[in-house]
């Protein structure tokens, strides 16, 4: 036992002295989470910047109301609305000023809306081909206004037929919304990115333990360890312990930094710790398999990088994945998926025990990978 402690302590000291651990284990995921949050943080409803222009070629009462309604959205939830001259050419202004979409009210719009029968009133929506997402928002806005016009139009005509006087201001819809979040609101983008990077990079961090077995072999220190009167399992146990401790240390630092810098609310810390510990265990087990198979430490690092990045992508570290279909099945085989989903559930939960299922899933992965890893690593212990 004391051999395990001695080797672990020596390795830990060496690792913490070397800047690589901080660079790859803490600084890199921190910087990446920060950058990704900056880039992807403002995509939610009312955050995406959409720049719309309106051309009213009609100038009728109906069109002025519509124009004023759309213009009234200026400054709301990322929207910017510009009213252009009646004779502006939408294609030209999109090209010159980069609007995301131009809403065109044609010159007979008001007449067609108020006329009895006749052809359908048309609204033009000229979209910027480079901005399909923003143009989609513009379309949704136009659809909303169209519904208002239809309501006012129907009301005016029906009232006319019934011989009633109605106010020119159309009534709002009788539909009211009760918005609920049955599964909780989940993590916000910044927190999710931080968690995603933390679990991705722990796969790099744990290399600093198990993979050093290959370095020890190369430098000849492994032979000396084998010559010492200690059990062989102490050596693998110590390497595993170093990986595990470094992994937990780095991930917990990142999770705490997430709360401090990004205001992430993870929920009960007991649950967070359970998730972190089980995620790190899976990482140690998976990376130990590679260390057990690879011939050189360079080869091991490269293979581990493939696994780390590949699993992170499949498991949702970069972008959320759904649990459906083939991709969903693959995702469920990664610890990343369970770690991130556990955190999503935990943030709205009252008790830490909600992480039971994800922790169990990761424990299964850890055992399935850990047993062959132990066997393979043991075979490495030859002078």
């Amino acid at each position: 036992m004391s051999a395990v402690v001695t080797i672990t302590a020596k390795d830990l000291k060496e690792r913490l002295r070397d800047k690589s651990f901080f660079l790859l284990g803490i600084l890199t995921p921190l910087v990446l989470a920060f950058v990704l949050d900056l880039v992807m943080g403002d995509l939610g409803e009312g955050q995406l910047e959409v720049d719309i222009a309106v051309v009213d070629a009609d100038g009728s009462v109906v069109s002025s109301q519509l124009r004023a309604g759309i213009a009234g959205l200026d400054g709301e939830g990322g929207l910017e609305v510009t009213v252009l001259d009646a004779d502006a050419d939408p294609d030209a202004v999109i090209d010159a000023d980069g609007y995301d979409a131009v809403i065109v009210i044609p010159d007979d719009f008001g007449d067609r809306v108020t006329a009895d029968g006749g052809s359908a009133p048309e609204l033009g929506l000229v979209e910027n081909p480079d901005r399909p997402v923003q143009a989609g928002v513009a379309e949704s806005i136009v659809v909303g206004f169209t519904t208002n016009i239809e309501r006012a139009r129907l009301l005016a005509r029906a009232a006319d037929e019934l011989g009633l006087d109605v106010a020119p201001v159309p009534p709002a819809t009788g539909i009211e919304l009760d918005r609920v979040w049955p599964g909780g609101e989940g993590l916000d983008t910044g927190a999710r990115m931080m968690a995603g990077m933390a679990v991705m990079f722990v796969f790099f961090t744990v290399q600093f333990g198990v993979t050093t077995l290959l370095d020890e072999k190369k430098s000849g220190t492994l032979t000396r360890l084998l010559a010492a009167p200690i059990r062989r399992d102490s050596i693998t146990a110590a390497k595993g312990a170093v990986s595990f401790l470094l992994g937990v240390l780095a991930t917990m630092i990142l999770m705490v930094t997430g709360t401090l810098l990004m205001g992430a609310d993870w929920g009960p810390w007991l649950g967070v710790s359970a998730l972190v510990v089980s995620a790190v265990l899976t990482a140690v087990a998976l990376m130990a398999i590679v260390a057990g198979i690879a011939k050189t430490s360079e080869g091991a690092s490269a293979a581990q990088a493939i696994i780390a990045v590949g699993l992170a992508m499949l498991g949702g570290s970069w972008f959320p994945v759904s649990g459906e279909g083939l991709m969903g099945l693959l995702a469920k085989m990664t610890p990343h998926y369970w770690f991130l989903n556990g955190l999503e559930d935990l943030t709205d939960a009252t008790t830490w025990t909600v992480v039971g299922r994800p922790v169990l899933a990761m424990a299964v992965i850890a055992v399935v990978a850990g047993v062959p890893a132990a066997v393979l690593l043991r075979r490495r212990l030859r002078p």
Binding site: D91, I175, V180, E185, G299
Partner: protein, 387 residues
């Protein structure tokens, strides 16, 4: 010249001897393009929405919603079932409509729809489109209910008048066109954008990994022995740079060719694209040389490589299209070579641009390359010979 070539070719050889590198250069990029492409570029992959409730109003609203193509709708029997679907994240959003919703609206009473939102941004992004479909289908009932408050006439009579009026009028139509005249429904954006992003990300990242090799050469004393041969320091630096450039260029051309064949990605004007790649690979080579010259051990270099490679990629539009960036972030993105190259590729592939159209971007990239290469050459001259 032969010396430069032999230094460069040995660098390439070293890279390809490592089987894991082969994976990263040959297999991994295609894998990501495929995975991300199937996640984002698939038209059938509209977010899943579930609706509980029965009756003509719900049927019409669901039909209208499906016609928008913005969501794929699943009908469920009960609000409890809906809640489970949302909780399990099988759908991003659920709407529970009371069975008597339309009658309630016709009677002038409001009706409350329960919107169950899943966690994250996905649900709020689709919420507006979903609710507008219901509102649009509720117009007639809304008007009937409103008129009922103004008159003593029987509800059925009012309803009949409204129905007749609806049938008589032609509803407002929205004509969507793309500026330039293309059809908005066969928007090519998607896999092309993903492929451009990944090409730039992987080219830069894989060239940057060359930094470790440079550090190893120094650690093993290979560099000093090279200096001891009758080869000028300048030639060695140029050769090492050419090696990194070759790796980047190989990666870029490989991704371009394979994605074009396998996924039908269009890269636009090929000669212009190749010039662009050559300049971009030079920027990446410069960055790799600089990291290799400044860092002391290859583990640190690996950390920097991942951080710089992925960080600049994300910031430069490789993970999320630049067109979705906010105004401020779009400006910030211009500190990365990726953003300039991305812009140039979009010009080539989407707008049919030629070499002349991307000259400004090429100029900026060339400036990046020159600055990085000179810094690297200056540092390398000092460190190559250091024991």
């Amino acid at each position: 010249m032969t010396k430069v070539l032999s230094i460069a070719s040995f660098n390439l050889l070293r890279m390809f001897r490592e089987r894991a590198n082969l994976f990263f250069v040959l297999v991994f990029p295609l894998l990501i393009v495929f995975v991300i492409g199937s996640q984002f570029a698939d038209d059938d992959d509209a977010p899943d929405v579930a609706v509980a409730g029965t009756g003509a109003f719900v049927d019409r609203s669901v039909e209208r919603l499906e016609d928008t193509g913005a969501a794929s709708v699943q009908r469920v029997d009960s609000s409890a079932e809906l809640r489970d679907l949302v909780e399990d994240r099988d759908v991003v959003l659920g709407v529970a409509v009371p069975d008597d919703a339309e009658d309630a609206l016709r009677g002038g009473a409001g009706v409350e729809l329960t919107v169950m939102l899943g966690p994250g941004d996905g649900s709020t992004q689709v919420e507006g489109v979903v609710m507008r479909a219901f509102e649009a289908e509720a117009v007639a009932a809304d008007v009937t209910g409103y008129l009922l408050t103004l008159t003593d006439a029987a509800a059925d009579d009012i309803g009949e008048v409204v129905e007749r009026t609806v049938a008589a009028g032609a509803p407002v139509e929205i004509n969507r066109v793309l500026a330039g005249g293309a059809d908005p429904d066969d928007e090519p954006l998607g896999i092309d954008q993903v492929a451009i992003g990944i090409l730039l990300l992987m080219t830069f990242l894989n060239a940057l990994t060359g930094a470790s090799a440079l550090i190893q050469s120094r650690q093993y004393g290979v560099s000093r022995r090279m200096v001891a041969t009758p080869t000028s320091l300048r030639l060695i630096v140029v050769g090492e740079g050419a090696g990194r450039w070759g790796v980047g260029m190989f990666q870029a051309v490989y991704i371009m060719a394979t994605t074009a064949v396998l996924f039908g990605v269009s890269w636009g004007n090929i000669p212009a694209a190749v010039v662009l790649l050559a300049v971009f690979a030079a920027v990446a080579a410069g960055a790799a040389m600089l990291v290799g010259a400044v860092m002391h051990n290859d583990e640190q270099a690996a950390g920097i490589t991942v951080m710089v490679g992925l960080g600049l990629g994300a910031l430069g539009g490789s993970m999320l299209p630049l067109d979705l960036f906010s105004g401020t972030m779009r400006t910030v993105a211009n500190i990365t070579p990726h953003a300039w190259a991305n812009e140039a590729f979009v010009e080539l592939s989407r707008r049919g641009g030629t070499l002349v159209d991307i000259l400004p971007q090429l100029g900026v990239l060339a400036a990046f390359a020159v600055v990085l290469m000179s810094l690297a050459a200056w540092r390398l001259r000092l460190t190559l010979t250091r024991p």
